[in-house]
């Protein structure tokens, strides 16, 4: 009797999981469609040129970046903007030739400045950015990672968008991979980032007027930054944290797909795994903060909170449960709900994911036979690694909490 009741309860649970999967699938499909609409709309429109051009500070935090910083500053030197613009290379105690390279560019270009950031704690990007905030005066601040090569019009397009509406506290552009075709891994990362920007950036902006800072090729108004107290120096995903803080104060983060910057993706699996684990840890920290902070789970942020919690906890639990269910079914130990459309659900998940990747690649001019093939296998490979990364992040977070440690910021090695 108890066993029967247990199996019935499990059946209901799996039925609920199937419905929840369907809801998530539906949500992402709608985001994809809205993303496509926004992207096409934007590409067909001319940008609105403002009547006033605010002064711009471009921050580039850098720690031992000699491999990439020459090309980054070269791209920065080519940036076009009608108003005053200063570029600050925030050198965070580099011990390699980053400083020499920065001096080369700063000596020649009067608007490029090599700023030596004094040592301090906690280590990481946020502290360096806050230092930049204190030594600069410009009305708006753009942030680029040290490996970025923005298009010459990237900054001015961000400014144009930012000046469109008083409520826009910040604006986020697109980032692309300049080493997308170096390895299969970089191709997958490149395709995933195109999909992320199509659904989570353009799609959410068009559908819900929600956007988030990607940490690079982004811009924020100084008075808004002052209002939120700068960057959270303990946050591992300072960009996501800042996005919530801005939204909580009623500001919007607009998306500008025309502004594009090219960055370097990890070429080795181990580097990618570490980078994504750090991002994941940052997002888990953010989930905790969201639960603890009322303003992070109210108003427009409510949707952000639901999404964060559902992706990092609920969805993960569902996937693990369904995997157990699948294995038990294969072994013949337990089989629940043969009437459930599992194959269709599985097929549609793969189909929607692969199709969205292909459409995202098409919209950015990256549709090649190789990318089509990779898009079809990413669901079974790249996307599944997400589960391992999330589990790893959970374990690391649990260990750190048990030992009372603070998880430290970790720099991504360059190639």
């Amino acid at each position: 009797m108890i066993a029967m009741l247990f199996i019935k309860a499990l059946s209901w649970l799996f039925y609920f999981i199937v419905v929840a999967f369907w809801v998530i699938m539906f949500y992402y499909t709608i985001l994809g469609i809205f993303g496509i609409i926004y992207k096409v709309e934007t590409m067909e429109q001319e940008p609105n040129i403002p009547s006033y051009f605010p002064s711009v500070a471009v921050f580039i935090p850098a720690h031992n970046e000699e491999v990439v910083i020459f090309e980054t500053l070269d791209a920065m030197a080519s940036l076009e903007y009608e108003g005053p613009m200063n570029i600050y290379l925030l050198n965070d105690n580099s011990t390699d030739r980053t400083g020499d390279i920065a001096d080369f560019w700063a000596n020649i270009f009067v608007n490029i400045h090599h700023v030596k950031v004094p040592p301090g704690e906690p280590k990481g990007k946020s502290r360096v950015l806050n230092y930049g905030r204190h030594i600069s005066y410009e009305e708006v601040i753009a942030v680029y990672d040290a490996d970025n090569r923005p298009n010459p019009d990237a900054v001015k397009l961000l400014v144009y968008k930012l000046m469109e509406n008083e409520k826009y506290g910040g604006v986020a552009g697109y980032y692309r991979s300049y080493n997308m075709y170096k390895t299969i891994l970089t191709t997958m990362i490149g395709l995933e980032s195109l999909l992320y920007q199509l659904t989570m950036q353009s799609g959410r902006w068009k559908l819900l007027k929600l956007g988030s800072f990607p940490g690079t090729n982004m811009m924020i108004k100084r008075h808004v930054l002052d209002e939120i107290g700068g960057w959270d120096e303990y946050a591992l995903a300072e960009d996501a944290e800042q996005s919530l803080a801005l939204t909580a104060r009623g500001y919007l983060i607009a998306i500008e797909p025309r502004s594009q910057s090219w960055e370097q993706e990890p070429e080795k699996f181990s580097v990618w795994f570490r980078q994504r684990t750090r991002w994941m840890l940052g997002n888990l920290y953010l989930v905790q903060k969201t639960i603890a902070t009322k303003e992070y789970r109210s108003g427009r942020n409510l949707w952000n909170a639901i999404q964060l919690i559902s992706v990092y906890y609920v969805f993960f639990t569902f996937v693990i449960l369904s995997d157990i269910w699948f294995v038990l079914g294969l072994l013949g130990i337990f089989s629940a709900g043969t009437h459930l459309p599992l194959l269709t659900l599985w097929f549609e998940s793969w189909w929607i994911y692969a199709t969205q990747l292909i459409v995202a690649a098409f919209l950015e001019g990256e549709l090649t036979p190789k990318n089509i093939i990779i898009a079809t296998i990413m669901y079974f490979t790249y996307a599944q690694a997400w589960l391992v990364i999330l589990a790893n992040a959970w374990i690391q977070q649990w260990k750190a909490r048990r030992k009372g440690h603070t998880i430290k910021w970790d720099k991504t090695p360059r190639f």
């Binding site: 030197a77 030739r97 608007n111």
Partner: protein, 276 residues
């Protein structure tokens, strides 16, 4: 009767391009519709086999060539026929209509996707070849706007012959930029390239980028003394360039002049010897 030849032939006739576009469009519709039906009609085993077959063909196509993928594609299609025939023979009460329907669906899905990718892949290969040809034919360096090495050398041969005929002097100006790690500063090359072009007699003097960080100017009817006037003009223009500290830039630049000879081969050797 004499027929006038069409001298305005296009490389790819419009009709061919249209046929290819329609074909890819038609195949895409067939592929999407048949895959959707297949997702519902075919069993999990059939569908997974189909998926594996498609992936295998794509991998062969990517690793080897479109032609190699034809071998695997035909093996799958013919192998499927043999399998169906054998299966029908071994099973007496088999639903033959269902068997044939499944086979047709399988083949339609497989062939449509393979053909779409093969067509796009062939187009991409053609595009790569055309781009390579374009690079070879390119006369202007895309970064700095001056002549490429090959184009500069071929122009230099013509100019050298002309000055030898007229018995005029000619000189070279070499401009090199020294950078950390020996990298190519694209922004500076663009600025310096534009400045040089503004400082010389266009259509008479020639300027080329002969190495990663080296510009060469060949001045006709100009000895090295007069070439120094041109060097000063370039430096003055760079001083006035917006956002740039000309004085600082000068520290990273090496500029000097050398007389050109009346022998183009010797001149080419001089250029090669002084190129970074």
């Amino acid at each position: 009767m004499y027929k006038k030849r069409n001298t305005n032939k296009q490389l790819i006739p419009n009709r061919v391009k249209q046929v290819k576009t329609y074909l890819i469009g038609l195949l895409s519709i067939i592929g999407i519709v048949s895959t959707y039906i297949g997702g519902h009609v075919l069993s999990a085993v059939e569908f997974l086999t189909l998926l594996a077959g498609v992936l295998l063909t794509f991998i062969i196509m990517y690793t080897f060539s479109v032609l190699s993928s034809i071998i695997i594609a035909s093996t799958i299609i013919f192998g499927l026929s043999l399998f169906v025939v054998t299966y029908a023979l071994l099973h007496q009460n088999v639903n033959q209509v269902q068997l044939i329907t499944h086979q047709l669906l399988f083949a339609t899905i497989f062939l449509s996707w393979w053909l779409i990718v093969a067509l796009i892949y062939t187009e991409e290969e053609n595009l790569i070849k055309l781009k390579a040809m374009l690079n070879q034919l390119r006369k202007i360096d895309p970064v700095s706007g001056v002549l490429t090495f090959n184009e500069f050398i071929s122009e230099m041969f013509l100019v050298t012959k002309a000055i030898a005929r007229r018995n005029e002097p000619a000189s070279f100006i070499f401009i090199k930029i020294k950078t950390p790690l020996g990298k190519e500063p694209k922004t500076l090359l663009r600025i310096i390239g534009n400045t040089i072009l503004d400082s010389i007699r266009r259509g008479y003097d020639i300027v080329g980028k002969t190495g990663n960080n080296t510009f060469v100017i060949m001045l006709q009817g100009t000895d090295t003394d007069k070439a120094n006037i041109v060097i000063n003009r370039i430096l003055q223009k760079l001083e006035k360039y917006p956002k740039i500290s000309g004085e600082e830039l000068r520290k990273y630049m090496e500029i000097y002049t050398l007389p050109a000879t009346e022998n183009p081969e010797t001149n080419e050797q001089i250029i090669r010897d002084h190129t970074q």
